[in-house]
């Protein structure tokens, strides 16, 4: 049945992206120093996937498009699964994922993809403001809390307050990474828990719920809208900073993957190069709460 439709799809009109190199010679006169180094290619591409990487890709795309007239980059979220599914199908040009493609996709599909690691992303454990006296959790303590062995903050040296876990959806990259790196694969408790997908709902819930805790991306933690609403915790005595993430001491971090179907070309290649350029790696990435992969 699906094959039948696929055959029909050959007749369907597909968007043809006409890529043409545009000279960047004109941009040397420009006052903006960054545009001198940008390799401008005209065209239109779409990226889809990880919402954790989205703020970075979105900001980088805006910079690129601002420097290069004739280039359009649509940045979509949708989740890592969407990114991997759509890049494997070839319906987008870049698929963003928090997790490795071969952990999700079957081998033949995963093998066709080319991985571009553009940044490190980190997550931080946060609590409600009422959880005073807890500034650090060891991996063992965190595991006890998230698996439901410890259900009161006094069990880890905090106040006498019941712990409320605010989970991310089981399928999300954030939860999968936390489960792998901190919980060592153990399943989360289901008692005093709540699942929120949206960053807004998570921060609202933590802000208003006594004794609540969750894990959020650095980019969201440092969002000015959340300033003063959350307590950020150390993990194993290490501060959750991009510097500690880059030097490898803070372990709750993972590579941000941008996948292409085969080797990239045209605007896709130019944009991926731009993601690795000093303008992004040294300036934008730290500013947005990510870690550089090129020093």
């Amino acid at each position: 049945m699906l094959n039948g439709i696929r055959r029909i799809s050959a007749l369907a009109v597909a968007a043809t992206v006409v890529l043409s190199a545009c000279s960047s010679s004109g941009s040397t006169q420009s006052a903006a120093p960054s545009s001198a180094t940008v390799n401008c290619v005209a065209g239109s591409i779409t990226t889809a996937g990880s919402t954790a990487l989205q703020p970075l890709i979105d900001a980088a795309a805006k910079q690129y498009v601002a420097a290069c007239t004739g280039a359009t980059i649509n940045v979509q979220g949708g989740g890592s699964g969407t990114g991997l599914s759509q890049i494997a199908q070839g319906t987008v040009q870049i698929g963003a994922s928090d997790v490795l493609a071969n952990s999700k996709l079957a081998t033949p599909d995963a093998d066709k993809l080319v991985d571009h690691i553009v940044a490190k992303q980190g997550w931080i454990m946060v609590t409600n403001k009422d959880v005073t006296g807890v500034t650090n959790l060891t991996t063992a303590q965190a595991t006890d809390i998230w698996t439901g062995k410890v259900t009161n903050w006094k069990g880890v040296g905090g106040p006498d307050l019941a712990i409320v876990l605010i989970l991310r959806p089981a399928s999300s990259g954030t939860r999968a990474t936390f489960k792998k790196l901190v919980l060592d694969g153990a399943n989360e408790a289901t008692g005093n828990t709540l699942t929120e997908d949206s960053n807004g709902a998570v921060t609202t819930a933590i802000g208003t719920t006594d004794g609540s805790t969750s894990v959020i991306g650095f980019a969201y933690y440092q969002d000015p809208a959340n300033a003063g609403k959350l307590n950020g915790l150390q993990l194993d005595g290490i501060d959750a900073t991009t510097a500690n993430m880059s030097n490898g001491t803070y372990k709750l971090s993972a590579d941000g993957h941008l996948y292409t179907l085969g080797q990239p070309s045209g605007l896709t290649a130019a944009f991926l190069d731009y993601m690795m350029s000093p303008a992004i790696q040294n300036t934008l990435i730290p500013a947005k709460g990510y870690g550089p992969v090129v020093h």
Partner: protein, 327 residues
């Protein structure tokens, strides 16, 4: 029998079909347009059913497992188990509570509009209802998230307990953990289905012949007695239809519910606690899973369940109405 008058002969000449008329292109075109809906339904049912059974066909999950209570789709931590019972019961629970809240209100409103309201009041309330229909579900969800959820949490955060001297606690509902809950989902839904139930019940009340009312009132009954003993029984099939339609809408609503329900795949126990519906699970997990993965196949099975619910409700409405015709 037919007299061969000139007029008749002319008429028969005129109706002798030419080629163009015999082809009757317009008829074919409008026919195609109408029949396209059968095509759409077939395609939709076919595709969703095909995707929905992949969990059993391709991934080899026994059909019975779907009716178990454990949802453990993550292969990285232990053996998987695709129990959809929490979601199915969650959908039923939140829909039932929404209907419980919305039905008395909506039927009352329909009665108000058809029996009580003077012309001017109807002229205000009816357009207001139409605007209700038009308010997008994401806006309801946003209102739920920013107003209802904090309100529930702030107001009812403590356990509600009824204690008797000897028996001790006879009734206990835990307070709201966060406000994201079964009740929050049901409240948002009850407002969303209010216009549906109201307008369909209103039509049912309007369809009752005026003589029934005048006859009853002439016997000296009050308006309320007429409503209770005559109008409501007479309009019952229509009101039932309205409730089924409201139910369908509530069971299928996705975004607004997902925004306030808290999404915990557990069996529903207390209205103050988070539960998860089929639609919420699809919304949350579809984007994070990849095509062909058993986890995503389970989500397609969920949409097949939703589709079955909605087709079943159409059949149910037809049965209700057939009985009405028979009566």
């Amino acid at each position: 029998m037919v007299q061969l008058t000139t007029a008749n002969r002319l008429a028969s000449l005129r109706t002798a079909p030419g080629l163009r008329e015999r082809l009757d292109l317009p008829r074919r075109v409008v026919f195609l347009a109408a029949v396209s809906m059968i095509g759409i339904v077939t395609l939709l049912l076919g595709f969703i059913a095909w995707q929905g059974i992949q969990l059993f066909v391709k991934d080899g999950v026994p059909v019975g497992q779907v009716f178990s209570a454990t949802w453990q789709p993550d292969a990285t931590s232990g053996p998987t188990n695709y129990g959809l019972l929490p979601f199915i019961l969650g959908t039923i629970a939140v829909t039932a509570l929404a209907l419980l809240i919305s039905t008395p209100l909506s039927v009352g409103l329909a009665l108000f509009l058809s029996e009580v309201a003077p012309r001017w009041a109807r002229a205000i309330v009816q357009p207001a209802l139409e605007i209700f229909v038009g308010i997008p579900s994401v806006v309801w969800g946003w209102l739920g998230l920013t107003i209802l959820v904090p309100f529930l949490h702030d107001t009812f955060r403590h356990d509600f307990v009824i204690s008797l001297p000897v028996l001790g606690d006879v009734f206990r509902v835990p307070g709201f953990l966060t406000g994201f809950s079964w009740l929050a989902g049901a409240l948002v839904l009850s407002i969303m289905i209010l216009p549906t139930i109201t307008s369909v019940s209103f039509d049912a009340f309007r369809a009752i012949p005026q003589e029934l009312r005048t006859g009853s009132l002439a016997l000296g009954t009050t308006r309320w007695q007429t409503i209770r003993h005559i109008l409501i029984p007479a309009a019952l099939p229509g009101v039932l239809t309205a409730i089924v339609l409201g139910m369908t809408r509530a069971a299928g609503e996705a975004l607004a519910v997902q925004m306030v329900i808290g999404s915990q795949p557990v069996l529903p126990r207390a209205v103050t606690q988070p539960i998860e519906t089929l639609t919420a699970a699809i919304t949350l997990d579809m984007g994070n899973t990849v095509f062909g993965e058993p986890w995503q196949d389970a989500l397609w099975t969920m949409s097949l369940v939703l589709l079955i619910i909605s087709v079943a409700s159409v059949v149910l409405v037809r049965l209700i109405n057939k009985r009405r015709m028979a009566l």
